[in-house]
């Protein structure tokens, strides 16, 4: 008779905090259940409390990985983008989130990892390492990455300069990069306020862009950032 084999996970000795901070995460049925329920509640809340309108859903590719790029005015941005993808894709949609903020304590890590499905992004020391994690993620078919290239929330409403990370991630690859613009985030939930106010939100999803033709040089990276920033701003102007 053959012996039974057991396959305990490699992180069996990890504490809860370590498991929450690690990435990629192992699929976990309880986590998936909680995330699915909270995603449904979130969609309902955005729809009725913020009257969220989403335009351009047809631009989202169906069977391949893509990157969503958006302006960053409040935490609502992430939530709106999460609500724009089909609900069955929710466990494969990863907002890149600053590790120093969203994974700084156990309760925050729990919300970020379980409810938001955030990818801990190190915006200080290990930026390059975090980018490698992102590109590995996107090499698997059907994953969605949400990135705010400004790197932080704006306090004035003026869109900040796009950092080079997004450019380095997609230069010379066949990934679809989709510019988005959320209008109304700043008035609905300004930085520093504890709770969002019932203001209208409007998310525009632009046409996919592709940078496969560009060579992997720093000039192309700058070019991509400029192009994306313009596209996002362009979408924003439609609201004025």
């Amino acid at each position: 008779m053959n012996e039974w084999e057991y396959h305990p996970p490699p992180d069996i000795d990890a504490t809860m905090a370590e498991t929450l901070r690690s990435f990629p995460r192992q699929p976990d049925m309880l986590v998936y259940t909680i995330r699915s329920i909270s995603a449904l509640l979130l969609r309902g809340w955005l729809r009725f409390y913020h009257r969220l309108q989403i335009e351009g859903r047809e631009h989202l590719p169906e069977n391949r990985s893509f990157v969503l790029v958006c302006n960053h005015t409040s935490h609502l941005d992430t939530l709106c983008l999460l609500s724009s993808v089909p609900i069955k894709k929710i466990h494969r949609t990863f907002p890149a989130a600053a590790a120093d903020y969203f994974f700084s304590s156990l309760p925050r890590s729990a919300v970020s990892a379980i409810l938001i499905n955030a990818l801990p992004f190190d915006r200080k020391l290990k930026g390059a390492e975090s980018l490698t994690v992102c590109s590995e993620l996107l090499n698997n078919k059907g994953n969605v990455l949400i990135i705010f290239p400004e790197g932080t929330r704006t306090t004035t409403g003026e869109m900040g300069r796009f950092r080079s990370g997004i450019g380095r991630l997609v230069v010379g690859t066949d990934l679809a990069v989709i510019p988005c613009h959320l209008e109304g985030g700043l008035t609905a939930w300004p930085k520093g306020k504890a709770f969002p106010r019932p203001r209208r939100l409007h998310l525009r999803i632009g046409t996919p862009r592709n940078y496969a033709h560009l060579a992997k040089t720093s000039e192309s990276v700058v070019e991509i950032c400029r192009d994306l920033q313009e596209s996002v701003a362009e979408l924003g102007k439609l609201d004025l």
Binding site: E5, I12, D13
Partner: protein, 314 residues
């Protein structure tokens, strides 16, 4: 059980005083030893773990029957999750999901009333549930039209449900008895005392190993010492069950003293066969949930049926 009942219940208040006093005393001893320059690092960590767990346990029982049943059911679900993760059953969502639902059903059945009887806790269905759950688990491979590896998965799922789910859930069902405070608090307290006694006697008196292929740190002396302690505890705490005759006190001591150590050894050989040290990490210094409640899984159902045989549940 309810908040009002807990405030007025002498048994609940007595245990609160005993455990609070013991924690305070242990804290003082640790502080003095630490001040004398002894190495108390690892035991301090364990002690801090107790400082977290004791309020949670008392708080849950204080809140009443609903909270107690929910608490035990949650422990059973997360305990099973540790077992499923350790064995690798966890990657199979059909089996794991079925057992999750089944354990939740045990909690529900402990909570509702038998439609034909006026008291809470549907005892008949609680005892019959394993029939349906085992049947459901065995049907999964048929539904999936798959044979390879299914015996192993089904066997692990059934063991996981029956042992970590059903047997452990008897603890929650005790919340339906009129003497719930006495039974629950005595069991939790006595099982922990038994664990601590086995550990302490094992440290004090070395000598022959108890089961060297399963748990190399346990000694015969430690085991006998713990059984001795566990036989006296029911007499010292006999206020927990005024209606117990001497025979029942002796049986209680036997169940806690022997059963507690057997439960510990069961988890030990499961871990050893898999090749892991702890079932997980929940509270620093205490390992996973199963490392903490291992003795209780064995003791709770046997104590439950002893009580039911002699005194009934109503």
């Amino acid at each position: 059980m309810s908040i009002n009942a807990a405030i007025q219940n002498e048994i609940f208040l007595t245990y609160l005083a005993i455990v609070g006093g013991l924690l305070l005393f242990a804290g003082l001893v640790l502080a003095i030893l630490g001040a004398l320059g002894r190495d108390v690092l690892s035991i301090s960590r364990t002690y801090r773990g107790w400082l977290i767990m004791v309020p949670i346990v008392f708080g849950t029982i204080f809140l009443g029957r609903t909270a107690t049943i929910i608490g035990v059911t949650a422990l059973a679900i997360f305990g099973f999750k540790e077992f499923a993760r350790a064995t690798g059953l966890y990657v199979d969502w059909w089996f794991t999901g079925t057992v999750y639902v089944a354990i939740a059903a045990l909690g529900l059945v402990s909570f509702v009333s038998d439609p034909r009887l006026p008291r809470t806790g549907w005892y008949g269905l609680f005892m019959a549930l394993p029939v349906y759950v085992i049947a459901a688990i065995l049907v999964i491979p048929i539904l999936r039209n798959r044979a390879k590896g299914q015996l192993r998965q089904a066997a692990l799922a059934i063991l996981g449900f029956v042992y970590f789910g059903w047997m452990f859930s008897h603890l929650g069902f005790l919340a339906n008895t009129p003497n719930a405070y006495g039974y629950l608090l005595f069991l939790i307290f006595a099982v922990e005392i038994n664990d601590i006694a086995a550990f302490t006697f094992g440290k004090l008196f070395g000598g022959r190993k108890l089961r060297e292929n399963i748990s190399p740190n346990k000694t015969v002396a430690g085991s006998l010492g713990a059984i001795g302690v566990s036989f006296t505890v029911p007499w010292l705490l006999s206020f927990s069950f005024d209606h117990f005759e001497p025979l029942h006190l002796i049986l209680t001591g036997l169940i806690v003293g022997v059963g507690g150590q057997l439960g510990d050894l069961v988890i030990s050989y499961i871990k050893r066969d898999i090749g892991i040290k702890d079932m997980g990490v929940v509270i620093s210094g205490h390992g996973g949930i199963l490392d903490r409640v291992d003795s209780m899984i064995f003791v709770a159902p046997i104590f439950f049926h002893m009580v039911r045989w002699f005194h009934g549940l109503g």
